[in-house]
């Protein structure tokens, strides 16, 4: 990489970080010092900010880079998988789970899902368990972002800045940013980043179409060069894989702390409704161009070296260097905005659901929001330590985090709706499905008679789906067997008896 281009990229990344810092400080000035203000922006987010902060959080750099990489290699069917996942299933869960949680939050002042369940089902143990499982799955995700950022900076400077300096610098920036900004600042920068991402991807598509000689020529090229992309299915795209991936990820993300907590922050019902209606539109606006970009790159015959990003390579082939730099800076910022949200939510789970439930005076004179800031620091530094080890299996662990969270979703949904739900049954369901899931992730398949145990799929379906069903069955059957359920209610008749 030329020296000038490197300086341009560094300047663009630095400029972008400075802008987000200014936004964070502005948010700090209108945030008061309480926990609800810090974690939930006073439950005051409007439609635009809520949609973009949820969308930007949903789309880590993994989606932004990983999606085009997949469609480059395997065809654009990924558009359909992500479409049903985020445009339809997630929107429906937004209503079924999100609206319900939002109402409980309005009435009872909950900040986390663990707090809600623990209070409604009368079990501190359940509250701690939900928080602990969530933090376990969150940890590798934060680590992945730090590793990604460290490696991106190595790439950006051609090795001029070593990996650990990059990862450490990003970690320090994230801690400082989250400590200052809280949810309001995170949401505001997410909005900026979401708009930048949308703009950049459409300009990138325009550049590629132009380079290919127009829309018509692009279609003909695709028919000649990659005819297999035109037929739905084939290769990795089996019906079982497409359905399994869409279902586990859609259900999994609803229990991601940084997504789940956003169910509490809407200003009013109108905001929730408008966000719900916008999901399918957002999906078309963002995923179709981003993922077609990868597929068109393959049709244009661009060669992508092993381990490099399709978006960066294809753009480098057809666009000026400064534009590539803007895209990379945007992706880095997206990575950090996801990490900010993860750190903030992880800290709230840690301080409220774990620390505060163990000692009544846990926060002392510091106050909860400040203990939360310390929590952010500890969590981020621990994850940084992990990211220095760069364990090879981390990608696997990160990928399977979706499935791990998905194991929580159905027991939680049942508890949100069914008055008879027993805390003990949910605890048993969560523990057993997590153990079973971990077994499938980490153990090799074993043959027991005619059966294979710990297989990745059974009859072609992902093991995570079986775990989800098992969790639901265990919750319902366990609750029916548990005689001592006398559920404290919020005085409503909305629970199913």
């Amino acid at each position: 990489m030329a020296h000038g281009a490197m300086l341009t990229e560094l300047a663009i990344v630095t400029g972008y970080l400075l802008i987000t810092l200014v936004i964070g400080v502005a948010a700090f000035r209108v945030t008061d010092r309480g926990a609800v203000s810090y974690y939930l922006a006073d439950r005051s987010l409007g439609t635009l900010v809520l949609v973009f902060t949820t969308f930007a959080t949903l789309l880590s750099a993994f989606t932004f880079f990983g999606g085009p990489n997949l469609t480059f290699a395997a065809g654009p069917e990924w558009i359909l998988v992500m479409g049903v996942m985020d445009g339809v299933l997630f929107a429906i869960l937004w209503y079924i789970m999100g609206y319900r949680q939002w109402q409980f939050g309005q009435q009872e002042g909950y900040v986390t899902i663990g707090e809600l369940l623990g209070d409604q089902l009368g079990s501190v143990g359940l509250r701690r368990l939900i928080a602990a499982v969530s933090i376990v799955w969150l940890f590798p995700y934060v680590m992945l972002q730090q590793m990604g950022a460290g490696e991106a900076i190595v790439g950006l400077t051609g090795g001029g800045v070593p990996y650990w300096v990059g990862a450490f610098g990003i970690t320090i920036f994230m801690i400082g940013y989250v400590a200052v900004a809280g949810m309001r600042g995170v949401a505001w920068t997410d909005t900026l980043q979401g708009i930048v991402m949308l703009g950049v991807i459409w300009i990138a598509v325009g550049v590629v179409v132009q380079a290919a000689g127009g829309i018509g020529a692009l279609g003909t090229t695709m028919a000649v060069e990659t005819p297999e992309f035109l037929a739905l299915g084939g290769g990795v795209y089996t019906p079982q894989w497409m359905i399994g991936t869409a279902v586990t990820i859609a259900f999994g993300v609803t229990m991601f702390p940084q997504i789940n907590q956003r169910f509490f922050v809407a200003r009013d019902v109108q905001t929730l409704k408008r966000s719900f209606m916008i999901w399918p539109v957002m999906v078309v606006l963002l995923f179709v161009p981003a993922f077609m970009f990868g597929a068109w790159g393959a049709a244009l015959g661009v060669t992508v070296p092993q381990g490099e990003n399709v978006i960066a390579v294809v753009l480098s082939a057809v666009a000026p260097g400064w534009f590539v730099a803007v895209v990379i800076a945007g992706a880095l910022a997206a990575m950090m905005s996801s990490s900010d949200s993860m750190l903030l939510s992880g800290a709230s789970y840690f301080t409220r659901d774990l620390i505060a439930t163990m000692r009544a005076d846990a926060f002392g004179r510091l106050g909860e929001a400040w203990v939360g800031r310390v929590g952010v620091m500890i969590f981020a530094l621990a994850a940084f330590g992990g990211s220095l080890l760069r364990p090879g299996t981390l990608i696997t662990v990160g990928d399977t985090a979706f499935g791990g969270f998905a194991q929580l979703t159905l027991p939680v949904l049942i508890a949100l709706y069914w008055r008879r739900t027993s805390a003990r049954a949910v605890i048993v369901a969560v523990v057993l499905t997590q153990v079973g899931y971990l077994g499938h992730v980490f153990l090799d398949p074993v043959s027991v008679g005619p059966m294979t145990v710990f297989a990745a799929t059974y009859l072609g379906w992902d093991f995570a789906l079986y775990g989800m069903v098992a969790g639901a069955v265990l919750t319902v059957v366990g609750s029916m067997l548990d005689p001592a359920v006398d559920r404290p209610t919020t005085g409503n008749e909305a629970f199913i008896e």
Partner: protein, 77 residues
């Protein structure tokens, strides 16, 4: 109460159709193209428009009646 339960069942069925038909299974392995995109991508764009229209109708008319915890705010619109 009876009527509400009926509406819930109706909306669950509509939800199943919206999810199930998000992927055009009947085009499986059919190499069709229109302009720069495979036909199934055009279908996806069209289907998301349909989903949006159904969602708008649901949010305007059925959101509170079917999902409000309190019961007192259900008649808001």
């Amino acid at each position: 109460m009876q009527w509400e339960a009926l509406q819930r069942v109706r909306w669950v069925l509509i939800g199943v159709v919206l999810v199930g038909a998000s992927i055009p299974w009947w085009l499986w392995q059919d190499p069709l193209r229109w302009g720069p995109l495979p036909v199934y991508v055009w279908y996806h764009i069209g289907w998301m428009v349909v989903v949006t229209v159904v969602f708008i109708h649901f949010a305007r008319r059925w959101w509170e009646p079917l999902g409000t915890v309190d019961g007192t705010r259900g008649d808001a619109d």
